[in-house]
């Protein structure tokens, strides 16, 4: 089962917590539990260690509670790393840490212009050779054009339409070259059309499971790792021959993130 080629990056949750509010999920009155957070993260790490070739762990930094969501560090494409330019000031200080990590591993760092926001693999997901990219709440559509022109790849821009699904990876999950999970209502009508026209097997997930972040899935080969209690989507996945690994990530959902947000696929 082990997919040796897959390399992931994670960040341990020592400094994780709800210390500010930058999305509809975060509430200062609903803090996360540090011990439970660590236990949930460790369980996820163990599952991924089993499935992926390598799971790197970057050292967390104090004062950067969301650094645990490494999906937003940037977008690695081949030897390039498109370093995120976070929209919110609270997360902007994460970038120097990620830049250092990727520089040390020989990646070419690409930066976006000052007024062009881009939040990494949180808003940019490959389905085959095509990059599906979300915009509106966090990333700027102009970032998509820059990536398309730099990489010479097709980038399909999808406008998000529900603040609860503020990153593309909260409502869209490519499974392989032809299938993807998505929550239709998180997109504007044009984006829905683009998904339907470009994804051969677009699996619409029900609202209650979308709200449990079923689309925030880590896909490693034929394995899908998600937060627990999403029976209807699990059925769709198993029917297509995927192995589903459910794990409790409720402490991270309090901050608006789940399995996928906690990982960044490097290769």
């Amino acid at each position: 089962m082990k997919q040796d080629s897959t390399e992931l990056l994670m960040c341990s949750p020592e400094h994780y917590g709800i210390h500010y509010v930058i999305n509809p999920w975060m509430k200062l009155s609903r803090p996360s539990d540090p011990q439970r957070s660590l236990a949930q993260w460790t369980a996820l790490h163990e599952i991924l260690e089993r499935l992926a070739g390598t799971v790197h762990v970057i050292a967390p930094a104090s004062g950067l509670p969301d650094m645990v969501f490494t999906a937003n560090a940037g977008l690695p494409v081949g030897e390039r790393f498109f370093l995120s330019r976070f929209r919110h000031e609270q997360r902007q200080h994460e970038s120097p840490h990620f830049r250092k990590w990727f520089e040390a591993r020989g990646f070419d760092i690409v930066e976006f212009p000052e007024d062009v926001y881009f939040e990494g693999a949180g808003d940019a997901l490959f389905l085959g050779p095509t990059l599906f990219a979300g915009y509106r709440y966090r990333s700027d559509i102009r970032a998509h054009t820059l990536i398309a022109e730099q990489q010479g790849i097709q980038v399909l821009s999808l406008e998000l339409a529900d603040r609860r699904f503020y990153h593309l990876d909260t409502c869209f999950a490519p499974l392989n070259g032809e299938s993807a999970l998505y929550y239709p209502k998180a997109f504007d009508p044009y984006a829905r059309q683009v998904i339907e026209a470009n994804v051969e097997d677009a699996i619409a997930v029900p609202a209650e499971e979308a709200l449990r972040f079923v689309c925030n899935a880590v896909v490693i080969g034929r394995n899908v790792v998600i937060h627990q209690d999403c029976p209807r989507t699990c059925k769709e996945l198993t029917a297509r021959g995927f192995g589903v690994h459910e794990t409790d990530l409720s402490e991270f959902i309090k901050a608006g993130g789940s399995a996928k947000c906690l990982t960044l696929q490097i290769r």
């Binding site: 095509t130 915009y135 509106r136 700027d140 559509i141 102009r142 998509h144 054009t145 398309a148 022109e149 010479g152 790849i153 097709q154 980038v155 399909l156 821009s157 999808l158 406008e159 504007d188 044009y190 984006a191 059309q193 683009v194 470009n198």
Partner: protein
């Protein structure tokens, strides 16, 4: 129409961004013209489109631009305004920008600054220290003034048309004598009231036919009731008004009887002489020589007036400004705050004042001759609406509507 060019690039066709932007423009009441489009040849190539977005108001255009900005549409920068110093007093540099009577902005040091006192056929002078811009008539330009040259960095913001505000429903189309006058006069009255309510001033530009037709008393009533804040006229209106006040005649005809007075043909010059002897209209009022009439009422009610001279004038009256450039300057001084201009029975003064007015001033031109309004509009005062009727009938009805008498 206001327009701005935007550039859209990326996978704008596969991502349906181009159709979305075009839909958004039309949904928000704008229109578009695709000036240039380059479509990528393969799936990997990006495409680009240059789109001119237009809307009927600046506000609407800004709303559209704000919305499509989210789709990555970026404004094509207009560039800085170009300034060249005036070579001499009263002389403009080659290629100077000739202004319109519309609200205009110039891009200076990265910011749009509004050009003060919109007036057609002027230069735009930028005070680079104070970062201010204003129209300046050619004759008032001083050597060294920084004058806008060319069209770059200049944007003109057209007025909303009457259709948009649903005002002047009956006055939308071109001048016609075949329209219900009473309804139109009621609309004019409503406009005047609305201008006053909003703290605006009303300007009346009048010709001597106001006096000849016996409509002077209605104009007096409007002045007394506060519906006239400033009066522009020539020598003739004042002269015949004074003639009537002193001799009961206008051009030698008794206004109450319609009969000519003996030696009446000389009344107007005698009237001029009397006022000159008194030292002017104001002195004649204070000395008790001038006791009624339009000019008397203006002096009494402290309504300022500008009398501009012409080559045909008799006299003229001492208050008449015979230097045409000086007269223009005097008129410009009183245009500040004017929101409504009513032009009655005067061709040349209507056109002269029309040239000085910003297009934002609601303008109504009343004349027995339809060509007067046409001329006014053809000379650039396209905001003017026309009413073809006799001055007496018009002012009587207007005064009744506004003052109840």
């Amino acid at each position: 129409m206001v327009s701005e060019k935007v550039l859209l690039s990326g996978h704008i066709i596969d991502s349906l961004i181009l159709p979305k932007v075009l839909d958004e423009i039309t949904d928000l009441g704008g229109t578009f013209a695709i000036e240039e489009i380059h479509v990528g040849r393969t799936r990997r190539d990006t495409s680009r489109a240059c789109i001119e977005v237009s809307a009927t108001s600046r506000d609407r255009l800004e709303r559209i631009l704000e919305r499509i900005k989210r789709q990555g549409a970026v404004s094509v920068e207009p560039g800085e305004v170009k300034l060249v110093r005036a070579p001499r007093d009263g002389v403009l540099p080659e290629g100077f920008y000739s202004s319109t009577n519309l609200q205009t902005d110039v891009q200076f040091k990265g910011r749009w600054i509004r050009v003060r006192n919109p007036e057609m056929d002027c230069a735009v002078v930028v005070d680079t220290k104070a970062r201010r811009a204003a129209t300046v008539p050619m004759s008032d330009v001083r050597k060294g003034d920084r004058v806008v040259v060319g069209e770059q960095g200049v944007r003109v913001l057209p007025e909303k048309r009457a259709e948009e505000t649903d005002e002047f429903r009956f006055m939308r189309s071109r001048t016609s004598s075949e329209k219900p006058k009473e309804i139109m006069i009621h609309e004019i009255a409503a406009q005047m009231k609305s201008a006053k309510r909003r703290g605006g001033k009303i300007l009346v530009v009048g010709g001597p036919a106001i006096v000849h037709t016996g409509a002077g008393r209605y104009l007096e009533r409007l002045i007394r009731k506060g519906f006239v804040d400033v009066l522009f006229a020539g020598n003739a209106l004042a002269v015949h008004d004074v003639e009537y006040a002193l001799f009961e005649t206008s051009l030698g005809i008794y206004l109450d009887r319609g009969q000519s007075a003996e030696g009446g043909h000389g009344h107007h010059v005698r009237a001029i002489n009397a006022i000159r002897a008194a030292g002017g209209l104001r002195r004649a009022v204070s000395k008790g020589i001038l006791k009624k009439g339009v000019m008397y009422t203006c002096v009494r009610e402290k309504v300022p007036f500008v009398l501009a001279g012409s080559i045909r004038d008799d006299g003229p009256l001492p208050e008449v400004i015979t230097d045409a450039i000086e007269a223009q300057r005097a008129m410009r001084r009183y245009l500040k705050g004017v929101r409504f201009a009513l032009m009655v029975a005067t061709t040349l003064h209507s056109i002269a004042v029309g040239n000085l007015l910003p297009a934002s001033v609601r303008t109504v031109c009343v004349d027995i001759n339809p060509s007067v309004v046409t001329k006014l509009i053809d000379r650039g005062s396209f905001q003017a609406a026309g009413l073809v009727t006799d001055a007496e009938l018009f002012l009587r009805e207007l005064s009744q509507t506004l003052t109840g008498s």
